[in-house]
Homo-oligomer: 339 residues x 2
C-alpha cells in the first residue's frame, strides 16, 4: 500500500519561529468517508514508523475497521515521508532541519483534514507511543473537534525519566564515527545498530525476556532477535530523521503552547473528548504511574492499563493477539459510547 | 586510603583455559583480624569500582564496622587495580586480555585469604551488584567456608533481560570512533560519555527522576546531573577494562563450572550460608522478581527487598540514609544470628 498522497502545506511557520519551506504532509487514507463525515478516525504515526509500518491494525474486524470508519494516517514530520531532514532541500537538509513540535504536527494534520476532506470533527484520534502524544495534543489543542481519543503507551508531557532514556538513545546514535561537528558525514551504521540493541532492552520488559517470548516468536537465539528485529528496525531509517523525531518526543508537552502557557493541569482539564488512557503495565519509559497521574486530571478519561509483559510493545501487538483484543475492545467501547 | 597491597598470584590458570601471566590481586584491609580469625568479612567490588569507591560503607557504626570486623576488599580483575587490560604486559594488553569469570575472581580471593592471612572461613561475604554476584559464587563454590552472605542488587545467574541491557551498554561504548577492528585505538571519550548517559536511565528508577531526587541532591538540572555524575563516573575508567568486566557480568552464573555443570538449582541448593537477598524494588536490571526466584531455591535465604525508589543504587546509598540504615540492619541481623 504505497499509493500514499502528499498534501502541500506551502511555507509552513513552525512553533519554533522558523519557516519550513514547501512543507509536505504525506498521508494514506483507508475506508470511505460517510456522507455526514461522522466516521473519521485519525491515526498518527509513532517514532521511526511510516504508515506502511502501522497500517496492519486497520483491517475488517481489526482494531480500526475500514468497513465502518474512514481512517487517515498522517506521517509525522521527520519520518522520512512527510518533510524530514532526509528529504528536504537545502538550506534545511540533514542536521539543519528546523525543530518541529507536536503542535506543528497536529496543526498540519488539521489543515489536511479541513482542506482536503472538509472534515472538522473527528470520531476518534488513536495513537500509540508518539502517536498517543499526538492524540493528546489533538484533544487539548482542538477540544471541540475531537469526540474520542485512545492514547496507548504515551503521555501528555514527556516524563523526566523518559527524557533520560532519550538522552541515552541520542548519545548512542551520535557516538557513531560519522557524527562530526554536530552532523552526520555518512550513514551511521554502527550507531544505528547500537541504538537497536539499546532499544531492545527498553522496549520489551524484563518478563518478556525471562519467559523467552523472543524465542517463542521463532528467533534462534537472543542474538538472532537483537539483529533481525532491533538492528534491522533502525537500520531502515535515516540518522538525522531519527534525531529530529527524538527531539519532538523529548519536548512533547500538550501545554507548551500559546493556549496553555505551560500549565499542564489546565491543558489536561480542557480536554473534552472521552478518552481511554492505556499504558502497558510493563512499559519502562511510558510508565503506567505517569499515565495514571495524567488521566485523573482529564475530565472524561478512563485509565485502563494493558496487563501485559510485552513492555512498550503491548501497544503495538503485531505478534500478540491478547493485547490486540484488549485494544480492539477499548476502541469499540469508545466508538459505541460504552467506554 | 591508597595504601593498598598487591597479592602476587603468579601465572594464573583461568577458567577459560588461558594463563594470565604474573597475575595480581590488589586489595585493601580494614580493622583487626581476631586471634581466632572469626571476624573476617569479604567485600568484593562492583562494576567499574575500585576499593576507594566502595570503602565509604566501612566505618564505625556503618554497614560494615571495622571496630568489630576485619574487612578485606579484593579488587575484581579488570577494575584497573588488579590485573586488567589497562595494566597488563603484552601479549595480553587491552582487547587481548583473556576472559575471566567470577570463578576466577573468587578462587584468587580464596588464595589471598589463605596464603596471606591464614583465613579459611568467612563470617560474611557482602556485595552489591557484581559484588553480590561474587558473594553468591563464594557461597556456592565454597559452601563450607562461608557463614553468611548479604547479596544486594545482584543475582546468581545473569538474567536474559540483564544481558540485553549489557548488550546495549557494550554497543554504545563500542560505537565510539576509536573502536576499530575489535579494539580501541585511542581513549573512547565519546563512547564513555554516551555510556554514562545510558546508564543514568537504567541505574536510577523512573520514580527517582519523577520525584526530582537528582535536584534534591544539589544538581542544577538534569543535564548537570548527567554530566557530573554519570559521564564523570565512566570517564574515570579505561574502555577495555569496562568491556572486560562487562563480559564477566554477562557470563555470571554460579553453576557454570566443573562442580555444578550448569545446574543452577543444584548450585543454589548447595549454599549452606545464611543469606539475605536484597534486591531493590525499583532495580531495572537486577529485578526483585529474578532475585526472589533464586532465593527460594537457597536453603537458608531470606528475601528482603529494599523498598526504595533509588533503583539499582538503593544498594549503594552514598546519598540515601534510609536505604543505608536498612542495609546496616540486615548485616547486623546476619552477624548476630537474628536474620
Amino acid at each position: 500500500m504505497n499509493d500514499h498522497k502528499v498534501f502541500e502545506l506551502g511555507n509552513l511557520r513552525l512553533q519554533c519561529g522558523m519557516i519550513l519551506p514547501k512543507a509536505q504532509l504525506t498521508y494514506q487514507a483507508y475506508g470511505k468517508l460517510a456522507a455526514d463525515k461522522s466516521n473519521v478516525v485519525l491515526y498518527p504515526t509513532s517514532y521511526g514508523a511510516q504508515h506502511m509500518d502501522t497500517e496492519w491494525l486497520i483491517r475488517p474486524g481489526g482494531i480500526l475497521d475500514p468497513e465502518r470508519y474512514f481512517i487517515v494516517i498522517p506521517n509525522m514530520f521527520g519520518n522520512g515521508l512527510s518533510s524530514s531532514p532526509s528529504n528536504i532541500a537545502e538550506p534545511y537538509g540533514m542536521a539543519r532541519f528546523p525543530a518541529f513540535s507536536h503542535w506543528d504536527n497536529v496543526q498540519a494534520q488539521r489543515r489536511l483534514l479541513a482542506e482536503v476532506f472538509g472534515v472538522e470533527r473527528l470520531a476518534l484520534v488513536y495513537g500509540w507511543s508518539m502517536g498517543a502524544q499526538q492524540a493528546l495534543h489533538w484533544a487539548a489543542i482542538f477540544p471541540d473537534q475531537v469526540d474520542n481519543i485512545c492514547a496507548v503507551c504515551g503521555s501528555a508531557r514527556t516524563s523526566p525519566h523518559n527524557k533520560v532514556f532519550l538522552e541515552g538513545v541520542r548519545a548512542t546514535l551520535t557516538a557513531d564515527p560519522a557524527w562530526q561537528n554536530g552532523g552526520f558525514t555518512a550513514r551511521p551504521v554502527r550507531g544505528l545498530r547500537a541504538m537497536g540493541r539499546l532499544y531492545a532492552g527498553w522496549a520489551m520488559s524484563q518478563a518478556f525476556y525471562r519467559e523467552g517470548k523472543h524465542l517463542e516468536l521463532g528467533f534462534a537465539s537472543l542474538e538472532d532477535y537483537l539483529v533481525r528485529v532491533w538492528e534491522a528496525n533502525f537500520l531502515r531509517r535515516d540518522g538525522d530523521d531519527l534525531l529530529s523525531m527524538l527531539a519532538t518526543w523529548y519536548q512533547s508537552d500538550i501545554s507548551d503552547n500559546e493556549i496553555y502557557q505551560g500549565d499542564l493541569a489546565a491543558a489536561l482539564g480542557a480536554i473534552k473528548a472521552r478518552a481511554i488512557i492505556m499504558p502497558s503495565r510493563t512499559d519502562l519509559y511510558f510508565t503506567p504511574e505517569d499515565s495514571g497521574a495524567e488521566s485523573v486530571q482529564m475530565p472524561n478519561a478512563v485509565f485502563r492499563p494493558i496487563e501485559s509483559i510485552w513492555g512498550h510493545r503491548a501497544g503495538n501487538p503485531t505478534d500478540n493477539t491478547d493485547d490486540e483484543a484488549f485494544l480492539r475492545n477499548a476502541v469499540q467501547a469508545l466508538l459505541t459510547g460504552g467506554a
